[in-house]
């Protein structure tokens, strides 16, 4: 019978259907009850919009050499161009590139790399994790041993080795990020899928002779999403930071497509010679991005977590 403690307490899904908000609406309301998270979300949306529309809103195309003038090299924040008279609010680098524009374009690369690698890693990790949980037994043990092995090495180490072998390039950075991240998703999905797998609705689907693939992706997977979202919000910040690290170390994106990490690295040499802004401002942009994502991610985790066990 029903649990004694909750037996007589009117359940929200009580007999006469009480009006219930959709899960998405409930999620939105609970998320919004924390103002700091809302600030984080607004900041993140702003950053994402800047990244997406960078070519439209940036004062200049920092990689169109025709728009650059070596005369403007190393200007301080607030100084104006000698040629066009345009104001460089965050200064210029040694080649006369407007830092505002460079940061916008850098954000674009950083977020692109993170988002694509996130999408691929989630897809691969989810398929592998659900497969392991659904079939269990030897398949599961085999997959999970690989996951354990993968997770026992620091991500940065694996990525460095991979990129040392593959060389620079946006595609190669993405590949490296996918390889170091899929295991997190695989493990997360597997652990919740194993719980769901034992529930009767999966047995019901099996006795309805539905195909394994259908059961895995239509019945099992949608019920494993909440913890996946939690891990994804943590991991995307990790991915951005990791990409920045790799680029800073010179094994990441090529010089022609500089991400925030590479911008920081470029300015690093001038940091001690007083031209702090070439490194510092991209650094601030990176930190703000990661903080915004983490604020959102923390709240998402708080809202979704209590429901993981219901």
């Amino acid at each position: 019978m029903t649990d004694a403690a909750t037996d007589d307490i009117p359940a929200p899904d009580g007999p006469v259907a009480v009006k219930i908000d959709s899960p998405a609406k409930r999620f939105a309301r609970e998320f919004a009850s924390d103002p700091i998270a809302v600030v984080g979300l607004i900041l993140f949306v702003l950053i994402a919009l800047i990244a997406i529309f960078a070519p439209l809103i940036a004062p200049q195309d920092p990689y169109d050499l025709a728009q650059l003038s070596i005369m403007d090299g190393g200007l301080q924040p607030g100084e104006s161009s000698f040629g066009t008279g345009m104001t460089f609010w965050l200064g210029t680098d040694t080649q006369g590139r407007d830092m505002v524009s460079a940061i916008m374009y850098g954000l674009r690369i950083s977020l692109f790399v993170a988002a694509v690698s996130l999408g691929l890693a989630i897809t691969i990790g989810t398929v592998i994790g659900v497969t392991a949980a659904y079939f269990g037994g030897k398949i599961d043990s085999f997959i999970m041993r690989i996951v354990d092995l993968q997770l026992s090495f620091p991500a940065i180490l694996i990525a460095l080795i991979l990129l040392a072998l593959l060389g620079r390039g946006v595609d190669k950075v993405i590949l490296a990020l996918v390889i170091v991240q899929w295991a997190y998703y695989a493990r997360t999905v597997r652990s919740s899928a194993i719980v769901e797998r034992r529930k009767d609705y999966i047995d019901a689907a099996r006795s309805l002779a539905l195909s394994d693939r259908r059961i895995m992706f239509r019945h099992l997977l949608p019920n494993c999403v909440p913890p996946l979202i939690v891990v994804a919000t943590v991991q995307i910040a990790q991915a951005i930071a990791l990409e920045a690290t790799l680029s800073f170390l010179g094994v990441g994106v090529p010089i022609t497509e500089p991400s925030l990490g590479l911008l920081i690295a470029n300015g690093y040499d001038y940091l001690l010679s007083g031209r702090y802004w070439i490194s510092i401002f991209p650094g601030i942009a990176l930190v703000l991005t990661i903080i915004a994502i983490n604020l959102v991610g923390d709240r998402v985790r708080d809202v979704l977590n209590p429901r993981l066990d219901t």
């Binding site: 019978m1 007589d8 009117p10 929200p12 007999p15 009480v18």
Partner: protein, 330 residues
């Protein structure tokens, strides 16, 4: 001599986002010393909340919003947590459906029982241990010395429930409130526990409130029955009276919907519809929408009235005939 327990107009409410759910609404009840009362109802009827209210165990978002609970003349609602602490475990004990609500999984049985003894009695560890051992013997646990040294997870479900009962008995309370203590157990084990509870209450003169959804189980145990529906008592009387002649249509329906000794393979008499949500209770008699006898007279909610000696019924159209032969008690 005062009654052991008197409840007047108890109101227990839960605040939910969708409004206030009156889990118990205007419940009055009394219990003599040594009496066994069966508190019967389906899920959502308020039977468990009534038990929790007596013990002061209603946690937010729920609260006892009104009424008086007099235990041996002392008002438990007015006395608050302080008065309750003195009584709980000593003069009033509770047995839950899940014995792990009582038992701590990481402590040995002897530690838990000695702790319970010493919480209310100033005795040495040795004396407390002896008392614990006695209690285990009384609930039919063989080799108690061995059992005392074990952890709860080493026991079967039935054995754990026995230990929980033994703990409830440690201080020979005046009142035990048992909330579906046998529901999760197998029938043969349930019978053992019922027989032991019956013997224990008879021996020690402990009064018992047995909360259950199963009218049949409690009918062989209780002196009196109180049937709850939507936070109210709708019928109350002696067990013999209610089982042989249920007056409220709901009670009658409950008895008739249990399959036993009836033409097998035929349809059971069923109560139509389903239990209403506490947030959306109907006007007037709460059972009216499901009741075959309901009419305009059911609009103002009927009071719980004494219809026969010792029989209170909340209905304007009660059944007055004894139950038909086929459903009569066997």
């Amino acid at each position: 001599m005062t009654k052991l327990l008197e409840i007047h107009d108890l109101q227990t409410q839960f605040h939910t986002r969708d409004g206030i759910a009156k889990a118990v609404d205007g419940l009055s009840l009394s219990l003599d010393r040594g009496e066994i009362l069966g508190l019967v109802g389906e899920s959502g009827s308020g039977k468990s909340v009534t038990g929790f209210s007596i013990l002061g165990l209603v946690d937010p978002p729920g609260r006892v919003a009104g009424g008086r609970i007099l235990f041996d003349g002392e008002d438990l609602v007015a006395g608050g947590e302080k008065a309750m602490k003195k009584l709980r475990g000593k003069r009033i004990a509770m047995i839950f459906q899940d014995p792990m609500m009582t038992l701590n999984p990481v402590l040995r049985i002897d530690t838990q029982m000695v702790e319970t003894v010493q919480a209310h009695a100033d005795v040495s560890r040795k004396a407390a241990l002896a008392r614990a051992r006695d209690a285990l013997v009384r609930v039919g646990i063989s080799s108690p010395d061995e059992r005392l040294q074990a952890y709860p997870h080493q026991f079967s479900g039935g054995m754990r429930q026995r230990v929980a009962i033994a703990i409830a008995l440690l201080h020979e309370p005046d009142l035990i409130i048992a909330d579906e203590p046998t529901t999760a157990l197998d029938v043969t084990i349930q019978a053992q526990i019922l027989s032991e509870m019956q013997a224990l209450c008879a021996q020690s003169g402990t009064a018992l409130i047995w909360i259950t959804h199963d009218l049949a189980v409690v009918s062989g145990l209780a002196d009196r029955l109180a049937v709850m529906y939507a936070g109210r008592i709708i019928e109350e009387g002696t067990t013999a009276g209610i089982i042989s002649k249920p007056m409220h249509p709901y009670t009658k329906g409950l008895i008739e919907s249990v399959p036993q000794g009836k033409e097998h393979g035929t349809l059971l008499r069923q109560i139509k519809g389903m239990t209403p949500s506490l947030l959306k209770l109907p006007e007037g008699c709460k059972f009216a929408p499901r009741c075959p006898r309901a009419d305009a007279a059911c609009k103002p909610e009927p009071p719980l009235e004494e219809r026969e000696t010792g029989r209170r019924v909340r209905c304007v159209h009660p059944h007055t005939e004894p139950l038909a032969e086929e459903a009569a008690p066997t």
